[in-house]
Amino acid sequence: MAAPVSERDQLAYIANQAADARVNLEFESEGMTLNMGPQHPATHGTLRILAKLDGEQVISCEPMPGYMHRGYEKLCEVRTYPQVTTLVNRIDWLGSFANEVPWILAAEKLMGIEAPPRAQHIRTILFELSRIGNIALFLGDLGIQLGGITVGFYAFRDREHVLNQVEAVTGGRFHPNFDRIGGLKDDLPKGWIAETKAAMVKVQKFCDQVEDLLIGNEIFQSRTRGIGVIPQHVAQSYGLSGANARGSGIDWDLRRDSCPPGLVYDKCDWTVWTHPDGDSFSRSWIRLQETREAAKIVDQLLDTIPSGPIMAKVPRIIKVPEGEAYVATENPLGEMGYYLVSKGDLYPFRVKIRSASFNNISIVPWLCKGVYVPDVISILASLYFILGDIDR
């Protein structure tokens, strides 16, 4: 070693090491820094939340996504359109069919193709089934986060019914990869309609159980009422969508208000649920009601599936004409949209994926100021995000 190392150098070295190792440094000025994640039971995946605490109260809270960033938008630029369909299944992996739909609709819009009515119908049914699968898990997870673990098991048990139905049609429980530009890959198997109707009955029973066990429970209500209140204008400014927006009283549902052509929500009778409170309870409650509505929609649509072809006349090699299109649908997590820029090639030129959880979680720093640590858990659970959706 040449020159003697000064104390300043030593301190700088130590500081660098600490920064590299992401060690929790005790700031002398304020409180304690708590690092929740990336491995933590409360975050659905690898979300890291850096919280500065004063005792049990949060002074500042910063979510740090990116541990699961897979570079989807870059990947989409080198994949052909069917290959991208496989890719986007994995954004929101719990309601995976729902991710494919806006993508396919955007491509269909630019190509000027409309799927045949039968395909549109079944597409909507599968969309709602993925919604049920996704939100059933949310309800279970809500219980687990707050300590009532039994609900989690019931959720997994009853979600199996829905996943079985999805698997029967698409061949995949989690990543169906079933939507195609111009229609769907295959038709329904025999007996599927009756089985799905039976599954919907079980889903309704599950929703009643959850209401009894969790939503109606006094402890749950005291943990969630008044916690994490989001006023309407803040929700809009952050771009909160889905149940998070409706929980703040915004009466907006993309299925009803700007349903893209290709889904048949106008052919059945269902309601949009809103709640004026804007707290964690209202968001949870709305999702429970949405599950019931989804089961109702599936029930109605199953009775009215038109016959016909399952796929429109589409060229074998898909080249989408030049243009730009944005299609957004009401996914289980919120508004999910794809901004597709095409240059007429085999593959897209640019795809901007507008994922719901990205906006939903960006409100956490604002929302969690001055909140207790257990309430942070309750807020995160009620905001409901999937890491794949945040990180893409």
């Binding site: 929790n24 304690m32 820094t33 708590l34 690092n35 933590h40 039971p41 409360a42 049990e56 219980g143 687990i144 986060q145 707050l146 300590g147 009532g148 673990i149 039994t150 098991f153 019931y154 048990r157 066990l213 969790l214 429970n217 402890i219 749950f220 005291s222 943990r223 207790y372 640590v373 257990p374 309430d375 942070v376 858990i377």
Partner: protein, 359 residues
């Protein structure tokens, strides 16, 4: 010594016939307690944590180890014992190592006064209940030591929460017991059982349980026991989804086994206390306390069985709440304790005192 149970004082009357020297008697007692604690933890764990919990959550539970998975906990215990003893670098080594022992010692001491029969008891103290409550407070220190000594933010937060919660819930527990003591007129656990066996409602109607007259106290005692065990709905210190295990987070191997065993053995001990104080312990209903049946040798077996049944009933209640309810937030927990449980206790204690004098 075959006089009425109330007259029994001193230690382990069951050994009186053998008349061993003091050191031998002590060894036997220590050995019995040392065997009893893991065994009861095992039984409770297997029955409730695995089988009943699985049944409530509509799943099967462990099936592999032993017939229908009944030996799972033994396998777990063996696994834990042979694991590497890991101590975090920044941890305070002595405090970290000793903390589980402190918690376990408080459990051991609780078993000393639990009577399984009029003469089947390790030490029949006159200050029985008082001793039990005092010893159960020792575990608080152990938990605090674990939380601080782990050098982990989560453990520290958990330790602080635990300190607040456990100390707060001592009060409802003590007050719940006071009602029983007033009614029985003694703190000796065998004496309380005898008082229940002889109890007459309003001095007229024979009714062998304090459960009826002390029902609110029973419920308060159960709630306080739930909180002392840091079980849901009072498990903020160990809140899995937030604190990732709380004060136990840095523990692995046999140290974690001590915590685990301590939790279930203490649950058993509290359930035993509840059975003794409110459900009549080893006494059978409508058999008077000075009956010869109690002092017969057959009762050396029957007594423990009766007590065990009652313990299982109470444990079922404890664990049923554990699996069903979500958890309270810390300040809500404290509110429940100070604003609801303690006033109920105070009111009922005064009522009991008045009733005792009148009737």
């Amino acid at each position: 010594m075959s006089a009425s149970p109330l007259a029994l004082v001193g230690s382990a009357p069951v050994l009186a016939g053998l008349d061993p020297p003091y050191w031998a008697a002590t060894l036997i007692k220590v050995g019995v307690v040392a065997l009893l604690v893991p065994t009861t933890a095992l039984i409770l764990g297997i029955v409730f944590l695995f089988k009943v919990m699985s049944w409530m959550q509509s799943r099967l539970g462990p099936q592999e180890a032993g017939p229908r998975g009944l030996l799972q906990l033994l396998a777990d215990g063996a696994k834990f014992i042979q694991k590497q003893d890991i101590i975090p670098d920044a941890a305070d080594r002595f405090v970290f190592k000793v903390a589980p022992m402190v918690v376990l010692i408080s459990t051991f001491l609780l078993y000393v006064i639990i009577p399984a029969g009029p003469s089947v008891v390790v030490e029949s103290l006159d200050t029985g209940v008082f001793f039990a409550l005092a010893m159960s407070s020792i575990s608080v220190i152990g938990i605090l030591m674990a939380g601080w000594g782990s050098a982990n933010k989560f453990a520290l937060m958990s330790g602080i929460r635990a300190a607040g919660q456990l100390i707060a819930y001592e009060l409802p527990m003590v007050l719940a017991v006071v009602g029983v003591v007033i009614q029985a007129g003694t703190m000796n656990l065998n004496g309380i059982i005898a008082a229940q066996a002889d109890f007459k409602l309003f001095g007229v109607v024979p009714f062998p349980l304090f459960l009826l007259t002390q029902l609110p106290m029973f419920l308060v005692f159960l709630a306080a026991a739930q909180a002392e065990l840091t079980q849901p709905p009072f498990d903020m210190p160990v809140a899995e989804s937030e604190l990732v295990g709380g004060y136990q987070v840095e523990y692995s191997g046999f140290r974690f086994l001590f915590f685990f065993m301590g939790e279930f053995a203490t649950a058993f001990a509290f359930a035993a206390l509840a059975s003794v104080l409110f459900l009549g312990g080893w006494s059978l209903p409508f058999v008077a306390s000075d009956s010869d049946f109690y002092t017969s040798t057959a009762f050396w077996l029957i007594g423990p069985v009766v007590l065990f049944t009652k313990i299982m009933l109470v444990s079922f209640l404890i664990f049923w709440f554990r699996f069903t309810y979500p958890r309270f937030r810390e300040d809500q927990l404290q509110k429940v304790c100070w604003k609801y449980l303690i006033p109920i206790c105070l009111v009922w204690v005064s009522f009991t005192a008045i009733a005792k004098v009148v009737w």
